[in-house]
Symmetry: C2
Subunit: 307 residues, 2 copies
């Protein structure tokens, strides 16, 4: 699967993923009114608004980017109707030819991780027929439980040509509380990074592995170290834009060919229509604003890495 992602990055010239993390506050009144009118002022109506909002964005940016990253928490917040909107979003993005990274941050003991892996990346067989649960292309995975929590995901990746990104160094301010603590003189995130490289050997797909890593744009120096600790791990980089990261900070996340990393922006793209920088779209043209924001982000990053 990572080779498919690399191929799409090369075709679009954009090592960019659009984070589909909608909140009701990002959605213009015309969409909210229509959806609450259709489904009621309730979680069903709110979930419909998330989905219709996503659709406008996806329709506007699907020719520009290789991938999207829906954050399942934003949907799970609304319970079952929200998760139905998540599934609709995943399916629609795949229909539009986008690679879908499910930002689910799952991870558990072995037999339980296997269920998560099957639900998000694989399929269950009932009476000889296969059924997929959510069917993303990649999922993000939490490493705290160690190898037996991660390997069931790798097994499913190998069986179904899917991929994962393991949390190594997250983009949030308190990520250092545990991740930066020194073990034999080296921070925990490096120890986890080394393990990601080892796990990666179990699922190589070209020069990179289907086992990638999450490293926040907000920690560029650590990105530099981790790039060399994990030479075969593609890096998913959250934290660009609204969280503070800029293109020039990200140079060392990439390899010499401008590959090896893909940068996510969520709010900066999907809520661009509300931002002062894109005030020409402030009448609720979410798709046009998202498109403009993607083009600006592409220029910022590609200029920095000469891609």
């Amino acid at each position: 699967m990572i080779s498919k992602l690399i191929d799409k990055i090369q075709k679009t010239g954009a090592p960019i993923v659009v984070g589909l993390d909608p909140k009701l506050s990002y959605i213009p009144g015309r969409i909210l009114d229509r959806c609450f009118g259709e489904k009621g002022k309730n979680p069903e109506g709110a979930a419909e608004a998330l989905w219709q909002f996503n659709k406008e964005i996806v329709d506007s940016v699907c020719d520009l980017v290789p991938a999207v990253k829906p954050q399942i928490a934003m949907y799970e917040e609304l319970g079952i109707p929200g998760l139905i909107a998540f599934k609709k979003t995943v399916d629609y993005c795949r229909e539009k030819g986008l690679i879908v990274i499910g930002d689910v941050k799952r991870g558990d003991i072995g037999s339980t991780s296997e269920s998560y892996a099957v639900g998000h990346l694989g399929s269950v067989e009932i009476d000889g027929q296969k059924y997929s649960g959510f069917d993303e292309d990649f999922a993000t995975v939490n490493p705290y439980l160690g190898s037996d929590g991660v390997k069931p995901f790798i097994d499913v990746c190998n069986r179904e040509d899917k991929g994962i990104f393991v949390l190594v160094k997250t983009s949030n301010p308190s990520s250092g509380e545990f991740q930066d603590r020194l073990i034999d003189g080296r921070p925990l995130y490096e120890i986890v990074g080394e393990q990601v490289e080892k796990w990666g050997q179990m699922s190589m797909d070209g020069s990179y592995s289907n086992v990638g890593a999450v490293v926040g744009a907000t920690y560029p120096e650590m990105g530099k170290v981790l790039r060399s600790v994990m030479p075969h791990a593609f890096i998913l980089v959250p934290g660009y834009g609204a969280q503070g990261g800029k293109g020039k900070d990200l140079v060392h996340f990439f390899d010499k060919d401008g590959l090896g990393a893909i940068v996510n922006s969520s709010r900066g793209i999907i809520a661009a229509w509300k931002s002062a920088s894109y005030s020409e779209f402030s009448d609720g043209r979410v798709g046009d604003a998202a498109r403009a924001a993607v083009l600006d982000m592409k220029k910022d990053i590609c200029d920095a890495i000469n891609f």
Copy 2:
């Protein structure tokens, strides 16, 4: 919320939680046939079977135990129909007066953790009315992202009188890979445990906090240390029975009053009808076998801790 759990433990005399982690292989043919007949041989039929299986177990044990712990992965594996069965299970258990610990192991950056916290423990407000997503009483939380990933859960706990159990030392064989690594001479799980104690101060509810900890039954020596590192954290103890833990190993997880911990068993109870120890129920009497297994587990633990 932790005071409600303690009250229920005292009333039932059973510091026991039944893990509702059903797999199709645990479900007798009579339930599978009925559900596949009603809903089709597909994920809807399979999810109906999980739910009807759970209902038989809950009906048989609800007077004996204070709480249940559905593991959401087992439901998420089946996609949306599975999650509907999860929600039905949560609602039914609460109707029966059981405290529901959602074993969801969520955790993300701040704003995203807030969505998970709202979806599992809180409610969204739409047009002045509140709607709950899954509405468990407790949720399990992964600490890898640090304080800003955990605090949104604590805020919701305080607002809605709910609780969490933070993963400290998990029960699986490879949990030591990161959790046991030494930081300034002390294992990571102790550092996390110390932080759990600090987080706990933000949500005290009697002698214990609404912020508890997960410590595996399979590591009794570590349970002893962690009991003293986290004097205000109630400990949720997975790994009893099928994973290897026994009552006598668990003495030090408890305080001097026989409180301070609650022990989970999943397979050992819900699949007891398939085990050689309960062969008198092997004709598919899942509820009767579960009841017998709960009573045996209660005796094993209460004898060990003199509760």
